[in-house]
């Protein structure tokens, strides 16, 4: 039977199964293949919080969502169009993200009595009519996998591990993807185990052939390449991009990179990544706690390293006192907070933006620290680089905010040319003549970096209030006031050193949606859709939160209404109201989940007075 091919602009697929079913790998392969075929895309893994949750239960479900298209893709997708469910529990957990009329492909073997019971179903959703509004394809993947490998005499455990490739094969067929990339990957991965190359490849082809030859599947879909900027790409998640950003910054600063860190979800992967780059001279120090993480980094910074410390919310709470020390001693340092759901231990594996006020204000005393935020997985690279640049140029700690959503989410990254990265090399002080530890540059107000080992520059720094210039301890009332203002002015001056903000869309109009951090893609999608409908709405996304670019006030004044969507109860909005005295409107959701574009679109509609 000749099958029909339909063209699609964009599709979202979610692969779901038990943690042991290899869904992350399957999703990753589908991603790499789609990327290589020229689609734009965005992906998000959804791991269970438990390490080894009991097999077949809902809390053991692992998912991977990929949104790919022939157009620009900015988010992993609000909903999915296709759900691959390897067992009953994964159907149960993920069904609510499927659109009406969407496609479900199930492995019927995962819907036996035991699996149904573990998932909490009293009767099978495959037969009780509850899935009638979806297109359901029932395939006994387990059996077909076994058949495909029947003559290989492999242990059953090995056979079971290949069944995700059957699902992948079917999806490759359905979306007209070439299996070649994955075959190459399998061949490299199992270089020393030829039987696994054979088994996995065979099962994937079996999945493909099954979809091609049986009558169950009548339609295949085609998603053409997207008009992407030419160049070399790789797929990257936020934590990887952050790690690379710092290696690049250290390289461009001609300094060794030092990371002091204590493991915490979802930040640990930055530590993992960096600890691998030993041949770049990167020193990663896994400490006894977060306090040692930051203080060891301060020690390394004193010694002339580009020093950073990575953590998530609870860890930032522990680092707070030391952040104040870094402000006082005016040493460069980057503190990375990969935000997760709080307060306390909160929702460790979920995303949130509720640490913004902690970053901007959360210290004892007047302790201003520049705060910048990354807006997408690949943007973490630029943000890490920029945070380093500011820290080094202004001799200050800098807070870099990312979040669990962009840290784990990935997207294609147009790999930058090394020669295009800014030269951020520093100059250590060497001249002992007239040296004083707190002499300042007139423009930046930053002090000079004089590192131990430099003859004639022996000096003492510390957390006690000091006299400007000499750095000698000083308790005079006027001096303290002066120093407080100097440290604040130094941070304010960073505004002279960063680009002006630019609005996406018209520079004036009815509604301006302002966001920061990981909501970028979602807001962009929502605003673009509304603009296509002819609505007067624009988007401004803040990379620099403290200090802000100098033209923010000017931009705000040109819009009738300002909408601030945040995954918190309204934090940026407080700062905006405080700084610009505007009656901004918040859109707030704190569920451990990213926004959906539709939620922002609805709010925009509401502000524009319903359906105009």
């Amino acid at each position: 039977m000749e099958k029909e091919t339909r063209a699609l602009d964009e599709v979202t697929i979610r692969f779901a199964g038990d943690s042991g079913d290899g869904m992350q790998l399957t999703g990753g392969q589908f991603t790499n293949t789609s990327a290589a075929m020229g689609n734009d895309l965005s992906t998000l893994p959804d791991y269970p919080a438990e390490i080894r949750a009991p097999i077949g239960t809902t809390y053991g479900v692992s998912g991977f969502q990929i949104h790919f298209g022939a157009t620009e893709i900015n988010t992993p997708g609000d909903h999915c169009d296709v759900l691959v469910a390897m067992n009953a529990a994964s159907l149960k957990v993920n069904l609510r993200s499927l659109i009406d009329g969407g496609i479900i492909i199930v492995n019927t073997d995962g819907f036996g009595d035991k699996n149904l019971k573990l998932a909490g179903y009293t009767q099978s959703p495959l037969s009780d009519g509850s899935l009638s509004k979806f297109q359901v394809f029932q395939v006994d993947i387990t059996k077909l996998t076994n058949l495909a490998l029947a003559d290989m005499n492999l242990p059953q455990k090995v056979v079971d591990k290949t069944k995700n490739f059957f699902a992948l094969g079917m999806m490759y067929w359905m979306f007209n993807r070439t299996p070649d990339n994955t075959i190459q990957w399998i061949t490299e991965k199992f270089e020393k185990k030829p039987e696994l190359i054979e088994a996995n490849t065979r099962v994937m082809k079996a999945g493909w052939n099954y979809a091609e030859t049986t009558d169950i599947f009548a339609v295949k879909y085609d998603v053409k390449p997207a008009p992407l900027t030419p160049g070399k790409y790789r797929n990257i998640n936020g934590n990887q991009a952050t790690a690379l950003g710092f290696v690049a910054a250290a390289d461009k600063a001609k300094l060794p990179l030092f990371l002091g860190s204590y493991p915490i979800t979802p930040a640990s992967d930055i530590l993992h990544e960096l600890s691998y780059f030993k041949n770049f001279g990167v020193k990663t120090f896994q400490c006894e706690d977060e306090i040692a993480g930051i203080t060891s980094a301060i020690g390394a910074s004193f010694g002339g390293s580009l020093a950073i410390t990575t953590t998530s919310g609870p860890g930032v709470a522990l680092k707070t006192e030391a952040m104040g020390l870094a402000v006082m001693v005016e040493l460069p340092l980057v503190i990375i907070n990969v935000q997760r759901g709080g307060p306390s231990t909160g929702l460790p594996t979920k995303t949130e933006q509720a640490d913004l006020l902690q970053a901007v204000y959360g210290r004892n005393g007047e302790a201003p620290i520049p705060v910048i935020a990354a807006s997408s997985p690949s943007d973490c690279f630029n943000a890490a680089f920029e945070a380093s640049r500011i820290a080094l140029k202004f001799m200050t700690p800098v807070i870099l905010l990312t979040d669990g959503y962009i840290a784990n989410g990935s997207e294609p990254w147009l790999i930058p040319e090394v020669k295009d990265l800014k030269d951020i090399s520093v100059k250590f002080r060497t001249d002992p003549e007239n040296y004083l530890p707190y002499l300042r540059d007139e423009i930046t107000l930053s002090r000079e970096w004089a590192i131990p080992g430099t003859p004639g520059l022996e000096h003492r720094i510390g957390g006690l209030e000091k006299q400007d210039g000499t750095g000698n301890i000083n308790y005079e009332p006027e001096n303290h006031h002066k120093m407080i203002k100097l440290r604040a002015a130094k941070v304010e001056r960073i505004a002279n050193d960063i680009p002006l903000a630019t609005v996406e869309g018209d520079e004036s109009g009815d509604v301006l949606v302002i966001g920061w951090g990981g909501t970028y893609g979602t807001i962009k999608t929502a605003v673009e859709r509304k603009r296509k409908e002819g609505k007067s709405v624009s988007h401004l996304h803040l990379r620099y939160i403290n200090p802000m670019p100098k033209n923010i006030g000017e931009i705000l004044a040109k819009f009738k209404t300002v909408l601030v969507p945040e995954i918190n109860l309204g934090q940026l909005i407080k700062i905006l109201r405080d700084k610009f005295l505007i009656p901004a409107v918040g859109l707030n959701k704190v569920q451990g989940l990213p926004f959906r574009s539709i939620e922002i679109e609805q709010k925009i509609d509401e502000l524009l007075g319903g359906k105009q």
Binding site: N235, F277, G281, F302, G304, I415, P452, G453
Partner: protein, 349 residues
Amino acid sequence: MNTLINSVTNQATEATIKYTAKDFSSDQDVRWCPGCGDYSILAQVQRVMPDLNIPKEKIVFISGIGCSSRFPYYMNTYGFHSIHGRATAIASGLKIARPDLSVWVATGDGDGLSIGGNHMIHILRRNVDVNILLFNNQIYGLTKGQYSPTSETGKITKSTPYGSVDMPFNPASLALGAGGTFVARSLDRDPKHMQTMIKRAAEHKGTSFIEIYQNCNVFNDGAFFALTEKETKPDNVVFLEHGKPLVFGKENDKGIKLDGFSPVVVSLKDGSHSINDLLVHNEKDSTLAFILANMTYNPELPRPVGIFLASDRPRYEVEMEKQIDSAISKRGKGVLEKLLNSGDTWVIQ
């Protein structure tokens, strides 16, 4: 390996200038209470520094918060007066980043064993080559006299008007338990001994931990007088010297003998024991170190002072450098361009 740091710093390991103690004294007025034991520690450190033959600019003193932690301000070297309890962590970071430096920590019993206890045990465990001087005055001096984790049980202070109920740490045992490779004790009122300890600590490769009994004449005056004053010291202190029997007493008339694993005092005068019966100190023997440290709060025994243990174990920062060197020799020196372009890449025309 980093050329920018190398290009501005002194690469020599030995000082070309001959220093005197005065060269190590900064222009800051020393502000400890008159009579405080901290003065003696400062003086001994300044006296020993010239003998170490290390270029002055390569020496860094790091401290936390407390009276004792004012120490770096008075040393004409690089210095860092940080936050309460964290000196050992800052020192670890600095030494790991810059193994070429001679890094010292000045800390108190509160700073190093209370709020900074966690970092203390971990620096010892890792054996980072940092020299730690723990000023033990058995009190919180700077905050005006609360009891500390080394105060004796029953201590009456402002915060314990009915006496403290908790047992003190024995810092030497703690340091040994944490895997310390150089653990010693000295006395503020014994300058010669302290100088020897400081010198040995400096020479030791790995973390050196010296507990120095220090009199706080304002809030805990006389805490150590039984151990430091002429009349009582000989009968109350036994000096540990490598290869020598443990003899003490005004007339060197007493000694320590091992009875099983327990040290006991024997008389050398009554004819029951001779010097040959005594325990001979071996500073390389870690089991013995534990036994000796454990004598500390035993009222039947003299207080051991000197080096409990001086042993060798790989140093964290050295092992890390080795890993870096081996990664470079295996994978080649990192090239940023290659790193950014690694993994699965594809080209959009």
